[in-house]
Subunit: 306 residues, 2 copies
């Protein structure tokens, strides 16, 4: 495939930007990939492993003459980056982001995007529990969804080109409204992450059960929670602070439902529990049929050796 | 290895008993494996796939002359089975079980075990989200823990033989007190399962987000919960009803902690969130170092194809 963008600037060099660099290079999708990160250590690693064609020290420098600028920093850092790069953006360029929250990012970035530059927020629903410049891999986006958030004024050509890039990196692309995105993700991602963090915190705090026991006997269910609760703390702090309303709404519903199940346990209402647990099985089946997870037992984990 | 028991009776032929049958056969650990299940359909499948040497219609028949009897039925069905087999047990035989709750099982089974028969409760911490006679596999117990619950009167020789069986099936064996077992498992398994069931139920019930969206965008975290929430409904109903106190205690702590995090979100206390999320990462590291999970991203799931 010929390059879709002559020069792509990646601002932030973590799991997502790193995987984009590798996927773009694999597909020959960008003429040149310029990267930057706030920390000198991250930039050093990026140079060492040859993640980008060029690594520069500042975001302002990175976006010079870039046709596509990807904001891949924690959501809470978007305003500062947008303010820094705004005056340097090339006319006709596209700015996108990969943040997990969309309404807040639009409010943080849009005011700094000059006329003549296309701002199309985005969110690839892909990731692992690992983070940092060494954690990326070219296959991360394969058969994963990428949501783009155009508005009524979005240039159709710019949208089409960005969609083509994500598709060429292996993703399925949908467009969505920002508020709806934030609600859907509160359900499928933000609330589950907070719940997993909470459960792992509780386990760690149980003084009548030792740390060692929690770890040894984790395979009984708990270890799946620990994977989610090992995700990047900065990223997740920012997600909760910037998608506050939707997250709190879902957590409110969750608590209500949990209380109903606790009551069923306390009163010995086995019929209620059985009915509830039967129903949730169907959702799993739907996810497997939609190709969004493996049906292999335990996610197809290999036997873990000591 | 030569057979550890001349005849083993498996009561119930689901994931655990099926895996035991396959692991015992692989290792030549039992002279003869006799199986039974309440449903004719399950017994038919067991015959069809050759899971046991012999499949019989009743538990009473299965335990005739058996040296080891394994109760592998849902915890709520233990009393009825114990009552049925009690008078038929061979003197000197060992009875064990694989239930997820131990105090309740002891109360349900012990009264029916005659003098001269050894009752040693057990619990292999192994499983998948699949159930039924076709779901077993010989490797299920490899490097997983099996907890045995002897008491002061337990015959050391009988205990040693049962331990040797589990070790020969690949498990690491520890002994533990029944009440402590029930508390540890409430933390590492029972509470996480109820929480996963709850979150999946909430997602399904969100009318402003469609079922289709929940399924499509599940890879952002939610899909890990759906795996746990696809576990066997009968088994889990019984677990919650019979480990009520410990489960409710952990859920109470969980809710308290969740409220504290919700409050941090509402008040914008990013420092609290960041500190909490950093700490939970350490637990994950401990689990991987203990060989209880893989460090491969996303559990080493293969790319899921459409």
């Amino acid at each position: 495939m010929s390059a879709l963008y002559d020069r792509v600037a990646l601002i932030g060099l973590g799991l997502i930007a790193g995987s984009m660099a590798l996927a773009m290079r694999r597909g020959g999708l960008a003429g040149e990939i310029v990267g930057t990160a706030r920390s000198a250590e991250t930039r050093g690693v990026a140079v060492e492993i040859g993640l980008c064609d060029r690594v520069v020290e500042t975001a302002a420098e990175a976006v010079m003459d870039a046709d596509l600028v990807v904001l891949a920093v924690p959501v809470g850092a978007m305003t500062a980056v947008a303010e820094e790069i705004g005056p340097k953006l090339k006319p006709g360029a596209t700015v996108t982001d990969v943040g997990s929250v969309k309404r807040h990012v639009i409010g943080a970035v849009a005011p700094f995007v000059p006329d003549g530059v296309h701002f199309i927020p985005g969110h690839p629903l892909a990731g692992t529990e690992h983070s940092g410049p060494r954690s990326g891999f070219a296959e991360l986006f394969e058969n994963r969804w990428c949501l783009l958030i155009p508005d009524a004024d979005t240039d159709p050509g710019a949208l089409q080109r960005l969609r083509a890039l994500w598709e060429a990196m292996g993703a399925n692309v949908e467009t969505m409204d920002a508020d709806h995105h934030d609600l859907v993700l509160a359900v499928t991602s933000h609330a589950p992450h907070l719940i997993a963090y909470t459960m792992v915190g509780v386990a760690d705090d149980m003084r009548r059960v030792t740390d060692q026991e929690v770890i040894k006997y984790s395979a009984a269910g708990f270890r799946d929670f620990t994977r989610i609760a090992a995700s990047d703390p900065t990223m997740w702090r920012d997600v909760f602070l910037t998608n506050k309303d939707a997250t709190l709404e879902i957590l409110g519903r969750f608590t209500e439902e949990l209380f109903a199940l606790q009551r069923a346990i306390r009163t010995g209402d086995g019929a209620h529990l059985f009915e509830y647990f039967t129903h949730t099985r169907d959702i799993r089946r739907g996810i497997i049929e939609a190709g969004q997870d493996t049906d292999a037992p335990n996610f197809g984990r290999g036997a873990v050796k000591e």
